[in-house]
């Protein structure tokens, strides 16, 4: 892993009083390669490594730590710094029922995460309502309804002949009637480059004025994570990210890419197919994983 690779490379810092550009060149290279192997975006890696170099240069090799430990600590701390804070969950300010939109590419885990989020909110004494406005994918509405049943939360009876914006408006009306205070909107997966479908999301946002727009991203996403996340953020001004399928062995560099590209917080992590596979995001956990 990176710590082992770095210990070997940074050994020569022992006996040197300071960290200099030349004596950490090898170490910086190891960090670069490790982050690329972890799927951190190429340009995000460049910027990260520049930040680490700046922080490391001129640093006195403190008595308590060995130079390699010091360097690794700088890398680790800088990564945690970039990843943001421990998640505090969702923002639900506004007159109930408040809306939360789940958006993202096809297959990233939106429908499943919508159910998990409903379960999380219910545990936190909220009364969630689920609605699918995915009128395209075969049996998408049925999937969300079954998820709602599993969680024990009411779901809107979406008519696939209706327009997504109208579905969402009607669902909020229904939620109000049922005394629910949060409406979780499951949207269809779409490409960030599909103009018509990105516009559809903008229309839904304008119609429901959501308190949260959560970008759902697959932890195994590669280099395009930056491009995809930036586009969704530019079009919608997302409020947070859900990183799914973290129960696999993907290093999850997409987390750093998405964070760097949008500046938005990662709020939740999906860690399984069942409804209880859902955790608040902790930057220190993912930092260790990305570094390998």
């Amino acid at each position: 892993n990176l710590t082992e690779k770095l210990s070997g490379v940074v050994k020569r810092l022992r006996g040197e009083g300071k960290i200099t550009e030349s004596n950490i060149q090898e170490a910086i290279k190891e960090v670069k390669l490790s982050l690329l192997e972890a799927d951190v975006n190429f340009n995000v890696v460049k910027n990260f490594v520049d930040a680490v170099t700046r922080r490391a240069l001129g640093t006195e090799v403190l008595g308590s730590l060995t130079p390699d430990q010091q360097f690794i600590k700088i890398v680790h701390d800088e990564l945690i710094n970039m990843m943001g804070k421990d998640s505090t969950g969702v923002e639900l300010s506004g007159k109930p029922p408040v809306a939360i939109m789940m958006v993202g590419l096809q297959g990233s885990g939106k429908t499943t995460s919508a159910g998990k989020l409903a379960r999380y909110l219910q545990i936190n004494k909220r009364k969630p309502y689920l609605v699918s406005c995915d009128i395209y994918r075969p049996a998408a509405i049925e999937q969300l309804k079954k998820v709602a049943l599993t969680v024990g939360v009411p779901a809107f009876d979406t008519n696939p002949q209706d327009k997504p914006v109208d579905i969402c408006r009607a669902a909020i009306g229904q939620a109000l009637v049922k005394g629910c205070d949060v409406v979780i909107i499951d949207t269809a997966g779409r490409l960030h480059i599909d103009e018509e479908l990105m516009k559809e999301l903008e229309e839904i946002k304008a119609a429901v004025n959501p308190s949260e727009i959560l970008f759902v991203a697959d932890a195994m996403t590669g280099q395009e994570a930056v491009n995809v996340a930036s586009t969704f953020n530019q079009r919608l001004d997302i409020t947070g990210v859900v990183l799914t399928k973290m129960d696999g062995d993907a290093r999850g560099g997409a987390a750093l890419s998405v964070r760097a590209a949008t500046g938005k917080p990662i709020k939740f992590v999906g860690v399984g197919e069942k409804m209880d596979g859902f955790e608040l995001f902790h930057p220190d956990r993912i930092a260790s994983r990305i570094l390998g």
Binding site: G107, A140, E142, Q143, K145, V228, D247, R251, A254, E273
Partner: protein, 277 residues
């Protein structure tokens, strides 16, 4: 930042950027740069155009796995579709079924995902659209039993091709990988020598984790081909270069959209050209 004796710094940086941003990965990119260094003259290494052509040619060789086309030479010809969650297995089955029907074959779908909410309903819609019978089971039932029943039905009805859907699963979940091995054994019990194809579906958006996916599914089952989906997005799927070169398994089809006609035979030239666009 690889050590390279003759490649000019600019040319090397340019190539690295193209390869890395296309998800080709560190190891495969290094091997490609080594290849250029070993096979091109110093003069050629200073010519960006010559380098790019040599690179494209080499990549093409790596992804063009020399195997015969899919033969459909057994009846029923049984195709098992596997892969991690959300990559496009069920949708691809819908597309494959329609494609094979258009070629004059009779097809049957086995709704082998008995786990995920509305998985059977999803493949039933695809079956309905293409006029293809779907054999499904109760949610929570044994996927191997459903697939066995589907194969029995196919034999009774003299069906040409059975395509078996399976639930998405992470390759790190050993009991779930064991479940797939059982499905494979049950196919073989129903029709000796089957499944005749095991296609691993990979999502073009996936980064280096696709390598462990390919390795684990191949070690567990022995895949016969790869289907690369979502190439209509902006991801290039560069990770399959290393996968094809190492596992020697061919990419058979690519998915380029969500509609039934959005499936193409894999074309190495198209793939390589798209990498350098």
């Amino acid at each position: 930042f690889f050590s390279s004796k003759s490649l000019t710094k600019e040319n090397m940086d340019a190539i690295e950027e193209v390869l890395f941003t296309s998800d080709v990965g560190v190891k495969t990119s290094q091997r490609l740069l080594d290849f250029l260094n070993e096979n091109l003259s110093n003069k050629e290494l200073e010519d960006a155009g010559k380098m790019r052509d040599a690179l494209k040619q080499r990549i093409k060789e790596m992804v063009k796995v020399d195997v015969p086309p899919v033969a459909f030479d057994k009846k029923p010809y049984i195709i098992m579709i596997v892969g991690v969650n959300g990559v496009g297995k069920t949708t691809t089955i819908g597309k494959l079924g329609a494609k094979y029907r258009a070629l004059g074959k009779t097809v049957l779908f086995a709704a082998g995902d008995t786990f995920r909410a509305a998985a059977s309903e999803q493949i039933e819609v695809w079956g309905e659209r293409a006029g293809i019978q779907v054999v499904s089971g109760q949610e929570g039932s044994d996927p191997a039993a459903v697939i066995y029943d589907a194969i029995s039905a196919a034999k009774a009805k003299d069906i040409d091709i059975v395509i078996a859907d399976t639930a998405g699963r992470l390759h790190t979940k050993l009991p779930l990988m064991e479940e797939l091995k059982k499905v494979k054994r049950v196919c073989n019990k129903a029709v000796e020598g089957s499944p005749h194809e095991i296609f691993l579906v990979l999502d073009a958006n996936t980064g280096q984790n696709a390598i462990s996916q390919a390795k684990e599914f191949n070690d567990a089952l022995g895949i016969t081909g790869i289907i690369l989906t979502k190439l209509d997005g902006t991801a290039k799927g560069g990770v399959i270069i290393g996968i094809c070169d190492e596992l020697k398994k061919p990419v058979r089809y690519i998915g380029i959209g969500e509609s039934v006609e959005d499936l193409r035979d894999f074309d190495p030239d198209e793939f390589v050209n798209a990498l350098f666009e």
